[in-house]
Symmetry: C2
Subunit: 352 residues, 2 copies
């Protein structure tokens, strides 16, 4: 059974939402959850919720990393907080009494840094990446998932060509595990579909990717292809990915706000929205990030799923499930063997 350490104190609604999500997961999943955080508070919250006792344990820690703190400073000042304790616990590994995977809805920069401090990079990985799922029109993989995997969305702001190649291989491995997609179509995000379009790094990565066997590299895609879902995995630098992902959130928020405003203000619109409700539910289920559970940090020897800061219980439950599936399917091993495919390419310089 996979053992997942959950940072109970990280997230906008922590620890209540985190503990509630873990309690739900303990009832429905074959997973052992170790909740890391304030022992008394977690015990109190847990007592108020149905849960499977044999699937949940509490690991005490002291303090929490604030959501808006500078990651480096906060981790240096609070080594005993829930996040770094959980990360070190996962680094130990389940065989040594630790855990196999980490789930946190905390400060994104701090989660990435805590992983970097506690975990090892998989051999051949030059830079780690945070991968997000973006809702799309087209369905993907054997599970018909209505999303595309976009990476990096913020772990590595400046990339070299080799880093983009690594992101492509790691994204393909993750898509295989999570969407049961045996041969995901992988693309580079650029400002034109031609191979000579983009930054120097993108142009060089394009050339390198064409030489790698066993990856279905479909070339460059443009911004318009993200919502269309023209590729299963879309690769970009962390700066561009962050802007794109947050813009998606903004568009969806704005549409919801306009719809609510309409709902309050006009009788005909109220009636219309009632008639449309099944369609709106359908649309909501497509754009609802909570059901996808979170964004994996790819490239470390240990699994980490970064849940959204605003995660409610359902998002946490799903993040725990995703983490368990990544462990069971040996995501890190798959990434390692994917990266082995580029052994014929010139070795990347050691990361700075």
């Amino acid at each position: 059974m996979a053992i997942v350490a959950v940072d109970a104190m990280g997230g906008d609604d922590a620890p209540a939402a985190i503990v509630a999500g873990a309690a739900e997961a303990s009832l429905s999943s074959e997973v052992l959850i170790r909740l890391v955080g304030d022992e008394a508070e977690i015990a109190r919250l847990l007592a108020a919720r149905p849960h499977e006792k044999s699937h949940i344990q509490i690991v005490p820690s002291v303090g929490r990393i604030p959501m808006d703190a500078s990651p480096r400073t906060a981790l240096a000042e609070l080594p005993g907080a829930s996040l770094p304790v959980a990360a070190r616990y996962v680094a130990l590994g389940s065989a040594a009494g630790g855990a196999d995977a980490l789930v946190s809805a905390g400060n994104t920069g701090a989660v990435i840094l805590a992983c970097a401090q506690a975990f090892q990079r998989i051999e051949g990985v030059s830079r780690t990446a945070l991968a997000a799922v973006v809702p799309t029109e087209r369905r993907h993989g054997a599970k018909s998932d209505p999303f595309t995997l976009l990476l990096d969305v913020g772990a590595t702001v400046r990339v070299r060509a080799e880093d983009l190649v690594g992101f492509a291989l790691m994204g393909a491995a993750y898509s295989g595990v999570i969407s049961k997609n045996a041969r995901p179509r992988v693309a580079l995000l650029s400002n034109g579909t031609e191979p000579n379009k983009g930054t120097d790094e993108i142009i060089a990565a394009h050339e390198l990717l064409l030489k790698i066997p066993d990856i279905d590299f479909i070339g460059n895609v443009e911004g318009v292809d993200i919502p269309r879902g023209s590729a299963d995995v879309i690769v970009c630098d962390g700066f561009t990915g962050n802007v794109v992902l947050k813009m998606f959130e903004g568009v969806s928020e704005t549409v919801m706000r306009l719809a609510r405003y309409a709902y309050r203000n006009k009788l005909a619109w109220k009636l219309a929205l009632a008639l449309l409700s099944s369609g709106i539910k359908q649309l909501k289920s497509v754009t609802d990030w909570q059901q996808y559970g979170g964004a994996p940090i790819l490239g470390f020897d240990r699994i980490c799923i970064k849940a959204h800061g605003r995660s409610g219980p359902r998002a946490i439950k799903n993040a725990i499930k995703v983490a368990a599936r990544c462990v069971e399917q040996d995501l890190s091993g798959r990434i390692g063997s994917h990266l082995g495919q580029r052994s014929s390419l010139p070795a990347p310089p050691p990361p700075a």
Copy 2:
């Protein structure tokens, strides 16, 4: 009266849509339009449409730049095509019998290159920028325009800090002319609001912009702020801007496609959409790029408005109006004086 040269042969539906738009503009605007292209075909199209004869003239040229051609090759091989002829005509200036501004719905890269070959950069401009309007929730300027100006969206893929500063000043000048926004709020697009977030170029540009008087620099904004409309002018490199703009187009296309699908398939939805029609019209008018007429290329001594390749007559008419307004309000002069504000800053190295 402003004289606008229109590339009659550039655009997906050229020359029919272009000539139709020019004919409409001749009836409603105080502007002299010079249609550059195939003389016989333009004359034939014009004869079939109501237009104001005293406001339209035909300038003959031979050939057209294909929409998907390599800009450099096509311009070298077709120096007599409508686009380069129109650009040289504008370079002459209206005093010498040419024109004041260029409008083209042709191949974007070729339009930018034709301008670069025919026009001069305004003193102090290190790089030119293509600026696009993006629909937003918040209204902007004295005209309550429901859009934010985003630049660069594709003219300069790689930028230095000085280039971003120039884009900010040019965008502020354009916003003043087009949205009657005396003091536009200007922001840098980044992956975090803190001044130390972003690429090295963004961090350096942030510092420089804080030192410039007479510009309302509000700091960094994130992707989520684009649809919200938190700033009047949002500055980024041409790669990021291109991805963001095309993603916006993709989201809007996907939503429209899903709505049409719903419309065909369910009686209740048909009824609902009929009831919502006024709301949909409102939303459509906000997201309808055709009414904004196109994207200015900023930084040259001559005005150029790049209309969307898919422009219909209404978009062309509006692009001609926007071009005329830029001439009347002396956009190039305003950009020059805005750029004078940073004379206290270190001089940028000469452009490559």
